[in-house]
């Protein structure tokens, strides 16, 4: 069976672990560099991207993650999406540059602007997983302000891409791990 890592430095890594189990996979909570060798794909969870960056640097994991992403599938949600972007604004910060997107942090506003919405995903998403609306939980979420030609959009909210893929990688600006719907995690498992 394929092993899926969840980067467990800070954030809602436990919620991703539970979501992976619902999707039929066994999570590996990745805290050290040595664990990257054991896994077939890696989830970067939600949390605070500045805290995660600090810990990535402290643990000498930053370059290893960028290198891992050049070989294996990665899936970033919210803070994870910010870490995987090519460029980050509000404010500018370091990122892994694995997805050809420009991401603005906290672009909807503060916590009182957080929201749960039902999205109509692209027909292709439904074909590759299962039909039905997609419940999206946005918490102090970023917005993808620019997406390169190689980016494939699988769902939008208010005109902005919120579920996208590029080659082996997957990104959401919302939190599929906080819903019962396991389809986005299943889609990621298909990429392994």
């Amino acid at each position: 069976m394929k092993k899926v890592g969840v980067l467990s430095l800070q954030g809602d890594f436990a919620a991703h672990g539970a979501a992976l189990e619902r999707a039929g996979a066994v999570p590996v909570y990745v805290r050290e560099r040595s664990q990257l060798g054991e896994i077939d794909g890696l989830i970067l969870p939600g949390g605070e991207s500045t805290t995660m960056l600090k810990l990535l640097r402290y643990e000498n994991l930053f370059d290893d993650l960028a290198e891992f992403g050049r070989r294996k599938p990665m899936f970033g949600t919210c803070a994870g999406a910010i870490l995987m972007a090519r460029d980050v604004t509000n404010p500018a910060q370091e990122s892994l540059g694995l997805m050809d997107i420009v991401v603005e942090r906290n672009a909807y506003g503060r916590q009182v602007d957080s929201r749960v919405v039902d999205l109509d995903p692209a027909p292709e998403f439904e074909k590759r997983t299962a039909p039905g609306k997609l419940e999206a939980v946005f918490i102090r979420a970023p917005i993808i302000r620019r997406a390169g030609d190689g980016i494939h959009v699988l769902a939008e909210y208010a005109g902005d891409p919120v579920l996208i893929e590029q080659g082996r990688h997957l990104v959401t600006t919302f939190h599929p791990e906080l819903t019962k719907d396991a389809r986005v995690h299943c889609l990621f498992l298909e990429k392994l």
Binding site: E48, T51, K54, V112, S114, V116, I139
Partner: protein
């Protein structure tokens, strides 16, 4: 009926989930907030005076000054929390209107109501509340709190009360998991907590909201200790900005919260930190000056 599945409650608990594994730091101005963010804090708590100063100076401790909170919110990009007095739902409304990301209905401030806590379910902004035991935690969750933290003894620099409170909450949860239905009804009565929350804890063995620790954390090892006991993240109050080298200590406690299982890395984080904040022996604090006995 408690609305676990309501959209509002899920959004509130969702933000609390994002803070897991991190360190939330008390700050009294924008400059400190920036130091905290740069050190890797996952959120900051804006307040007028840190608990050890409130303890020293006395007087009524209230919600922080608006201009200072605004300056903090403008300076950092991580979530900003702020404290409201126990029962002071209008301070909480002002903080909600200001747009803070989380409100701490806190025993560190002077209580505004000695009988009632805020009805937190009625707010859009999430709340965290302190607790010394499971009954207190479940009463706060019943009122709508989206996160629980141990009360510990704020401003003491002494971890003993936070340890007592975390151990008590974890033990009382474990005990519920082995009881039958009729026994749970009796326990709900003993705990003075809503039966459906008692039943939820008995089924899951955890709280229905994240369980953090606060009140006396002064060193990286203190943070690791409460994480070992079951805390999912830590609050550090006076411990950072009352130490001799705040930036370094803040950074070290962030590293400790992630590496609480790894003594070699904890050793690394504990090096060259200068002096910790001065500590107080709990038995030397006059009973009337204990902060943890505020609220019920």
């Amino acid at each position: 009926m408690f609305q676990f599945s309501s959209e509002q409650f899920r959004l509130k608990v969702g933000l609390a989930e994002m803070l897991k594994g991190g360190v939330i730091m008390d700050v009294t101005n924008a400059e400190q907030a920036k130091i905290a963010e740069d050190a890797g804090a996952s959120a900051v708590m804006a307040l007028e005076r840190v608990p050890s100063d409130i303890r020293k100076e006395g007087g009524v401790a209230r919600m922080a000054n608006i201009e200072i909170m605004e300056a903090i919110m403008k300076t950092v990009h991580i979530p900003v929390m702020a404290k409201a007095r126990i029962g002071h739902f209008m301070e909480a409304r002002v903080l909600e209107a200001l747009g803070v990301d989380f409100i701490d209905e806190s025993e560190v401030l002077t209580p505004a109501d000695e009988e009632h806590h805020i009805d937190k379910s009625d707010f859009k902004v999430p709340f965290v509340c302190g607790a010394r035991n499971l009954g207190e935690a479940l009463r706060r969750i019943g009122e709508g709190a989206a996160m629980i933290r141990t009360k510990g003894e704020a401003g003491s620099g002494n971890i003993v009360e936070a340890v007592r409170h975390m151990r008590t909450i974890i033990r009382e949860m474990k005990q519920l998991t082995v009881l039958g239905k009729e026994e749970l009804a009796r326990e709900a009565k003993n705990l003075q907590a809503p039966l459906e929350l008692v039943e939820w804890v008995a089924r899951h063995g955890t709280l229905p909201v994240p369980n953090f620790s606060a009140g006396g954390i002064a060193t990286p090892a203190d943070a690791a200790l409460v994480m070992q006991l079951g805390a999912e993240a830590v609050f550090v109050g006076s411990g950072i900005f009352k130490s001799s080298d705040p930036a370094n200590r803040a950074n070290a406690i962030v590293m400790a919260a992630k590496n609480y299982n790894n003594p070699e890395k904890l050793l690394e984080a504990s090096r060259s930190l200068g002096t910790a904040m001065p500590g107080l022996e709990i038995s030397k604090i006059p009973e009337g000056e204990l902060l943890q006995t505020r609220g019920w």
